[in-house]
């Protein structure tokens, strides 16, 4: 128990990093995922194909590789640098890498949501003169989002836990990396291990409950 108290502040700092990563990656994933699903249902074949390729490549690549590619390929080789401070640069590289990865899952969740919206909704929207984009943003996506609030919750829970592989993208300051560093100096400690498990449950369980409640509240009655 003593180790947990001794290293507590360091672990909490690590958790703060996990939370920050989740917030940035989550917002990025929502935006990119929505754009991707718009591409995947668009009437333009090129956009549809691009969306499909993106989702299938990114979704089927292990996250560690996506993050390693973001750090080594995009940042080191291609020169995508967000900050001169290595730690800050790594934070953004990992956030965007994780967001880009999660976006593929957000896209697929939303696409299953779109399939719950009857085709008559889109027909009625087009029949009053709404454009494709208006039909998507005013009629289809709002109903699709409501249908997949709970599955999106699962996507974000997975994403929060995925912040623990940030090391693969060169970010060594989050809680799991801290844990490994502490274990390397003091030896494995069950209290620290359980402390981290508890920490993640505190982060993720409310999301599960909240999205479950929200999905019932927002459900579209037909």
């Amino acid at each position: 128990m003593d180790e947990l108290i001794t290293y507590g502040p360091q672990l909490l700092e690590g958790f703060l990093e996990n939370i920050k990563l989740s917030l940035v990656a989550g917002v990025f994933a929502l935006i990119v995922g929505t754009l991707l699903v718009a591409m995947r249902v668009s009437p333009t074949p090129v956009l549809r194909a691009a969306g499909t390729v993106y989702v299938n490549v990114v979704r089927n690549t292990p996250l560690t590789l996506v993050l390693a590619f973001s750090a080594l390929g995009l940042s080191d080789t291609l020169g995508l640098v967000f900050s001169g401070v290595p730690r800050t640069n790594s934070f953004w590289i990992v956030s965007l890498g994780l967001g880009a990865y999660t976006a593929a899952f957000v896209c697929e969740a939303l696409r299953s949501g779109i399939n719950t919206v009857p085709t008559g909704q889109a027909e009625a929207a087009r029949a009053i003169g709404l454009t494709f984009f208006q039909t998507l943003t005013l009629i289809i996506l709002p109903q699709a989002f409501r249908a997949v609030v709970a599955p999106l919750g699962s996507v974000f829970i997975a994403m929060i836990k995925n912040t623990t592989v940030a090391t693969a993208g060169g970010l060594l300051t989050e809680s799991a990396a801290n844990m490994k560093e502490i274990f390397d100096t003091t030896g494995a400690s069950i209290p620290i291990f359980l402390g981290i498990v508890a920490g993640f449950m505190i982060l993720t369980m409310p999301i599960g409950f909240f999205t479950g409640w929200l999905s019932q509240r927002l459900a579209v009655v037909r």
């Binding site: 009437p43 009857p118 008559g120 909704q121 027909e123 009625a124 929207a125 087009r126 029949a127 009053i128 003169g129 709404l130 454009t131 208006q134 005013l138 009629i139 709002p142 109903q143 409501r146 579209v220 009655v221 037909r222």
Partner: protein, 249 residues
Amino acid sequence: MTDHSTPLVKLENVNKHFGALHVLKDINLTVSRGEVLVVIGPSGGGKSTLCRAINRLETIDGGQIVFDGRPLPAEGKALAALRSEVGMVFQSFNLFAHKTIRENVTLGPVKVRGIARDKANARAMELLERVGIAAQADKYPAQLSGGQQQRVAIARALAMDPKMILFDEPTSALDPEMVQEVLDVMVALARDGMTMVVVTHEMGFARKAANRVVFMAEGQIVEESTPDEFFTNARTERAKDFLSKILTH
């Protein structure tokens, strides 16, 4: 009286296939301004497809459709603009399920026409009053009966001030006791001079409100005449056969 002489819609040699099925065969038809045209006939005869082709919810393979002097645009903004001038009422209502009744009626005016929201709201309430649903303006579609939903759908179409309204079997999905309330609204619209193309099995409506009846079967227009003429003195065997089956009870 409305001027019935200038055509609003003109279909010329319109053809349409669904795979191997030839659903519209060389259709030639004009709809005049202010005219109420009822399309009747057996299921699968191409009535709904014809109706949906007029605002291009169905594309056609051959021939052309001219609306208000211009051929139907193929896609994009021009097509959206055309659709905003042609109201449509569906068999299954298709009210926007996540929006209130009022929002259903104001969405088009606000987003397509760019009308100020308070003005659109006032107009929506006027229209909902006219179809007898004003008291339900803040409810959601699922809270209304089928007949009420269909009357809202008519108000939604009217809110765009369309040049015509297409009705695709508007009463077919309704409980029998709700059919009349929807037909009453439609008859009133017809009396007001709205140009209407109505696909329906309601012979009473056809007799009461139609200027002309078109009988369709197997993708063709088999017969075209006034309602009186058609119901009392159908010329073709196909139409007589159809009428004998639906009018005997």
